[in-house]
């Protein structure tokens, strides 16, 4: 059901750089799992609504800025940083 090309495409979208062995394992496993899950095709659900968490109106709040007072704690978690800025790899 999932060929290698498809697996590599979804791995790319999911931002996972799979190793060679993992590619083989996942290709086999995911196919088995989807076969098991295809059981849902037995359910007659045409015309049914899509599930939504709660039948409730939107909950709104004031769009106002507040100081969290946590800036330093959050910055301290950055994997790499310089002068209080987060460093990211080049994107272009």
């Amino acid at each position: 059901m999932i060929d290698k090309k498809t697996l590599l495409r979804i791995a790319e979208i999911a931002r996972l750089k799979l190793g060679e062995q993992e590619q083989e394992e996942f290709q086999r496993e995911l196919a088995q799992m989807l076969e098991f899950f295809s059981k849902i095709n037995e359910i007659e659900a045409k015309g049914e609504e899509l599930y939504y968490v709660r039948e409730k109106a939107n909950v709104l709040r004031k769009d106002s800025a507040k100081k969290s007072g946590r800036d330093e704690k959050i910055r301290a978690l950055f994997t790499k940083q310089e002068d209080g800025c987060m460093i990211a790899p080049k994107s272009l």
């Binding site: 979804i10 996972l16 899509l50």
Partner: protein, 467 residues
């Protein structure tokens, strides 16, 4: 019955002595059980001293200095919050989760953070990237999961109460396996602010305790509206430990789905026995819910989609697994993610990504959303006839550590009894109803959305005639 009877040690010996009792249990057995990822003994002692002093002057809040353990996917300011993943091994929470704020506001003492399956993906805590947790009742067996550390900590007497999260049974499964009480409240009654989500439309935070009283007490403290989690709008926490003691207005009706018949006989026996005794108080009748046969595929497909999306925030840049120099953005993020996530996490991300691609969305994702809505409606149909649905919490006894690791489908089938409640967003709880081969067996009750008290009451009945 009052809190003084259920937590007598605390009231006889005081807050500090009660904490010391837990610490000495931890010193004795934590090495072999492995319930905690982080312990915070020093702060707990400081706080116990402060509460003891305050008790004499002005009295304490509803938790009276009870010792509470917190699952490691909930933020406790200043402590690591790993979700049992290498990705977050060094993440130190910069703030408190809403449930942690509430525990502290009612004078609970936080003792530490408990082990779990990585990002809550599992039913035995064996998928933790940090450590192994063993079942305190039988050290060769798993404690259940994903909140296995929380259940084990309560069972071993390392704390009075614990908090876990339940996306498809992650509170009820370990409660059943460790012989304690675990409760998953109605969806949207406990704020998830400060919680590392698995699947947003399923996740619910809830309590563990050795007795129903403690679970009801803690649930009442945790529940209620919080503007930071809009699903809680309009809800309120009550003193459930008191309201469930009030006289019942009518005889409750308990339905047993005939689809639950396929359980292991060793599990089924104590459960049917408990239901027979319960029949002296409640009316018991059989119901039929054929859609339950599809619960596993519908549950997993839905949660894969939400999980793959929830995991996108872990890129190794803002925090987490360090990225390598010399790579471009996509390569660096993809390598960091692949190197730090465990196999089950990757499996779920890949499947979730697949079923939500443009080509697969209609055949897979939309179909599961429609099927989920059908299941919710089916529960509503049954709850127009009965107050509660009962059956075993788990279809099998706790398995040996190392078993059920390789075949994901076998692994998922253990969740057959617990996932339906999360699919429908309804409350469910597990309480011990006996032992089989010296291993604990839990009975599960489900009720309609908002009928959490009916479950707590039924669990209390089982607890009472078990004595």
């Amino acid at each position: 019955m009052t809190i003084k009877q259920f937590f007598s040690h605390l009231f006889e010996k005081g807050v500090q002595e009660n904490l010391e009792q837990k610490i000495s249990a931890i010193e004795k057995r934590e090495k072999e059980i492995g319930a905690f990822i982080s312990l915070d003994i020093e702060n707990a002692r400081r706080r116990a001293k402060e509460l003891e002093a305050r008790k004499k002057k002005e009295g304490l809040g509803r938790l009276h200095g009870l010792v509470v353990a917190i699952k490691d996917n909930l933020c406790v300011q200043g402590l690591r919050c790993t979700s049992a993943s290498k990705m977050l091994e060094n993440y130190v929470a910069p703030y408190n989760a809403a449930v942690v704020e509430r525990v502290l506001a009612e004078d609970g003492i936080i003792i530490g953070k408990t082990n779990m399956d990585e990002f809550a993906c599992g039913s035995d805590t064996a998928k933790s990237a940090i450590k192994v947790t063993r079942n305190p009742i039988d050290l060769t067996r798993v404690p259940g999961g994903s909140s296995g550390g929380s259940a084990a900590a309560v069972a071993a007497g390392f704390c009075d109460l614990a908090i876990g999260s339940d996306t498809g049974g992650s509170i009820r499964c370990p409660a059943s396996f460790c012989g304690v009480v675990g409760f998953k409240p109605s969806y949207g009654t406990v704020s998830r602010y400060g919680f590392s989500d698995l699947a947003m439309s399923f996740d619910q935070i809830g309590p563990f305790s050795k007795n129903v009283f403690g679970a009801a007490l803690l649930y009442g403290v945790l529940a209620g509206e919080d503007y930071r989690d809009s699903t809680t709008a309009g809800t309120e926490g009550k003193e459930f430990e008191k309201t469930i003691l009030e006289k019942e207005e009518k005889k409750l009706v308990v339905g047993i789905p005939k689809e639950f018949e396929g359980c292991d006989e060793k599990v089924a026996k104590p459960v049917w026995l408990a239901l027979k005794k319960l029949g002296e108080f409640y009316e018991i009748r059989e119901v039929s819910m054929p859609l339950l046969n599809y619960a596993i595929p519908v549950y997993y497909l839905n949660t894969y989609a939400e999980f793959s999306s929830a995991m996108q925030k872990y890129d190794g840049l803002k925090y987490g697994f360090p990225w390598e120099e010399g790579l471009d953005l996509v390569e660096a993020v993809s390598e960091a993610r692949n190197a730090s996530f465990g196999k089950e996490v990757k499996r779920r991300i890949l499947l979730g990504t697949y079923i939500t691609t443009k080509e697969c969305r209609d055949a897979w994702y939309s179909k599961t959303l429609r099927a989920r809505d059908l299941m919710r409606k089916d529960f509503q149909r049954v709850f127009s006839e009965v107050d509660l649905i009962a059956g075993p919490t788990m279809p099998v006894l706790p398995w040996k550590i190392g078993e059920r690791m390789e075949d994901p489908i076998q692994m998922y089938l253990a969740d057959i009894m617990t996932v339906p409640a999360n699919l429908a967003g309804i409350p469910a709880g597990s309480v011990n109803c006996g032992f089989s081969e010296k291993l604990p067996v839990g009975i599960q009750f489900m009720a309609n959305w908002g009928d959490d008290e009916k479950i707590l009451r039924a669990m209390k009945k089982v607890e009472e005639f078990g004595k």
